[in-house]
């Protein structure tokens, strides 16, 4: 029973992150596109990210909402957060001459260092959700459908 409550809390926390993030990208796609084009990334990779990132974020939300796919939602959330965390980590380590532009972020009040720790926190939350969900499956396979 405790695991179920914990999973619900984790799911809601992740929804509170991903829904605003995905919504902002979709509603103000032009700004998101320009922001990404200013990042110090190869052009091809940037254009791939422009179109896949919003789609993946929406997919995370859909998966988290569905009891059947929630585990995959935790996994995808962890993967995306890991990618973002690594990117910010590289920026903070001085990989590029100047810190990439942070304008356009929904969490725009944060410094790069704060954003790094914020991402790390949500990476941890995603991983915990994944582990708890997997453990729940192992102990009660029926729960896989109920969620």
């Amino acid at each position: 029973m405790k695991a179920k409550y914990l999973l619900n809390i984790i799911t809601i926390a992740l929804l509170l992150l991903w829904i605003p993030v995905a919504t902002e990208k979709l509603i103000d796609f032009t700004t998101f596109k320009h922001t990404l084009l200013r990042q110090p990334l190869p052009h091809g990779l940037t254009y791939m990210a422009i179109y896949t990132l919003p789609a993946l974020e929406v997919l995370v939300v859909v998966m988290l909402v569905s009891p059947r796919w929630r585990q995959w939602g935790f996994l995808l959330s962890a993967i995306l957060m890991a990618l973002f965390t690594v990117y910010i980590g590289l920026a903070l380590l001085g990989t590029w001459d100047r810190l990439p532009c942070a304008c356009g972020s929904v969490i725009s009040g944060m410094s790069w260092t704060q954003h790094f720790w914020f991402n790390l926190l949500f990476l941890g939350i995603s991983v915990v959700g994944l582990l708890v969900k997997k453990r729940q499956h192992t102990s009660d396979p029926v729960d896989q459908v109920v969620g």
Binding site: T23, T31, H34, L99, W112
Partner: protein, 106 residues
Amino acid sequence: MKNLIRKNAMALVALAIAAVTLMAMGTPESKLAMKKWGYNPAALPGAQWVDITGQTEETDTTPGQYLCHENEEQICSGEFEEEVNPNAPGAPAPSNETYGEFEPLD
């Protein structure tokens, strides 16, 4: 849809979060920085497009792109067509401005 929501409380939570998000985005003043661009009267007759807060610089990698910074962080930008000289009197306002308020001072 009604059945889905009845069976799945998390869907209801997601809808509520989405609704709040959309309402919050409709609120103005959600931009990070408001900087004013315009001609610098002190530089006449060769007026310059400058951020009047004094923190703007032109990039050396992308012609026509002007950025403004606060400490080490880039927070707004404006782009001009490459063939346009933004420092010439009568030059148009920049396009693709991000988090900046662009208006000519004249």
